[in-house]
């Protein structure tokens, strides 16, 4: 069954030699049967949006199975908008993420508005980190305010995955990405509440091996049709790609 990973990184691993080039990322994906992936720049997320996203653009040129997601930061609005103008028109960049003051801190709408307003014109999905309930509530506020934009919640609320499922139920432009705790209950619960069409597979590789993330889907009581949607059909529709290629 084809698999598209909507959440992986270039750089940032504590293990030497991992995810440090297009070649290593693609080889790791292919060994696990992952046919395509969205890649984020760890440098853009943790250091500098402008240079990090430029580095990622170079990586994307080296492998057709990799797609990019621009990473912006609420404290670097000018650099974020500059990166957006430079790279977002490219078909290889399929979305944009907004990061905030810390990995576990919510991105509030009021400080994200400038970046989102500059992004709306591209008509591509918005990725928001949702590692806990507070981050999920903040993402829900953004999703409801910008209901013309499809919003993907990375990490599916973390241990507060019930909050993320409720958010997706409340706002139909929200998609749930499956990374985060390897809790066997969360995907079946999401499917039961919002159906299969707004759940997309993501691993968070290299921090979590795609094989581990796929194990969560494999161990969930789902039909093959639902698994196929989660693994690649939904991502294809969301991103305007044929992720099975």
């Amino acid at each position: 069954m084809p698999v598209f990973d909507t959440h992986s990184y270039f750089g940032g691993s504590v293990i030497p030699g991992v995810a440090n080039s297009a070649k290593t990322i693609a080889a790791t994906m292919q060994a696990r049967g992952v046919g395509g992936a969205i890649v984020f720049s760890a440098h853009a997320r943790y250091v500098d949006p402008l240079s990090g996203n430029r580095l990622l653009a170079k990586i994307l040129e080296q492998s057709p199975i990799l797609h990019g997601c621009l990473v912006t930061h609420v404290n670097r609005v000018d650099a974020s908008v500059a990166a957006m103008r430079e790279l977002m028109a490219s078909k290889r960049f399929v979305g944009m993420a907004i990061t905030g003051m810390g990995e576990e801190e919510p991105v509030e709408k009021i400080i994200a508005d400038d970046i989102i307003n500059a992004y709306r014109r591209y008509g591509k999905p918005l990725f928001l980190y949702a590692h806990n309930g507070k981050m999920t509530h903040a993402a829900l506020e953004i999703a409801q305010a910008y209901n013309m934009i499809k919003v993907v919640l990375f990490g599916m609320g973390g241990h507060d995955w019930r909050t993320a499922i409720a958010a997706a139920h409340a706002s139909t432009n929200i998609y749930l990405e499956t990374s985060g705790p390897l809790d066997r209950a969360k995907i079946p619960a999401a499917f039961e509440t919002i159906g299969a069409h707004r759940i997309v597979f993501g691993s968070g590789a290299p921090h979590v091996d795609a094989a581990a993330a796929m194990g969560l889907v494999e161990d969930s009581p789902l039909t093959d049709d639902v698994r196929r949607r989660i693994y690649y059909t939904n991502a294809g529709r969301l991103l305007g790609l044929d992720p099975g290629e």
Partner: protein
């Protein structure tokens, strides 16, 4: 999967777990073992971790008494042990294979005096001790606390952020092992194997609250030799536990 039929999972539980919603029954565990060809699981009742180790250990013995493929793991909470003599002095003769501690769930630390005292009393049993560790410095403090303990120590809960620390403490003491349940970062298992050897890595899934397919999938994809994989999947546990 290589070595199928000989896999020993050193990290499973059964019973209620309010923080999770997946089924944790013994039957569910047995079903997963059959699905993935797991030969034996070290397991314990969550009651021992969450509330009362005496009741939990009793439930563990009862469940394991009914299924030979389940190997009993005892647990103790040092916050509730007050005597020098107790059922924990008979763990080995009662058939338990490992004694497991949960400092994070029970909110104590390896530096906690009752834990050190309890570990001292357990020395005569010489059963492997398995401890859930998390957070920077936890493994270091644990190894300091058990530096002279004669039995093997199994670290569990070690994720990518703690791998460097785990490797550092494993290099200082040859009797320290690590389970794979949280080694889910790309390359983490290989890193541990390269640094301290495959013979000190044990397959553990954290099932049934965590997916057995995840731990197996990561191990299947680890860039190590088939011999090393076979050691991790069962050979090491068999030797360590005397199975």
């Amino acid at each position: 999967m290589d070595n199928i039929g000989n896999i020993i999972d050193v990290n499973t539980m059964f019973g209620p777990l309010p923080a999770g919603a997946a089924d944790l029954s013994v039957d569910e565990l047995g079903e997963m073992m059959r699905k993935y060809g797991i030969h034996a699981c070290c397991t314990l009742s969550t009651v021992g971790m969450l509330l009362d180790y005496n009741s939990g250990n009793g439930a563990t013995r009862a469940a394991c008494g009914e299924q030979a493929s389940l190997l009993p793991v005892a647990t103790l909470n040092p916050q509730t042990v007050f005597t020098d003599d107790g059922p924990y002095m008979r763990f080995k003769s009662d058939g338990f294979k490992i004694v497991r501690f949960f400092p994070m769930e029970q909110d104590w630390d390896a530096a906690y005096a009752p834990f050190r005292a309890l570990a001292g009393r357990l020395e005569a049993e010489k059963l492997p001790i398995m401890v859930d560790v998390g957070g920077s410095g936890a493994a270091t403090r644990l190894v300091d606390a058990l530096a002279r303990h004669p039995a093997p120590l199994i670290l569990t809960g070690i994720d990518a952020s703690a791998v460097a620390e785990a490797i550092a403490v494993m290099r200082t003491h040859s009797g320290i092992y690590i389970d794979t349940s949280h080694l889910v970062a790309v390359g983490a298992i290989k890193q541990v194997v390269d640094c301290v050897g495959a013979e000190r890595v044990l397959y553990g899934s954290g099932a049934p609250s965590r997916p057995m397919a995840s731990a197996l999938g990561v191990l299947r994809n680890a860039d190590i030799s088939d011999d090393q994989r076979a050691q991790i999947l069962g050979g090491n546990a068999r030797r360590l536990l005397g199975i």
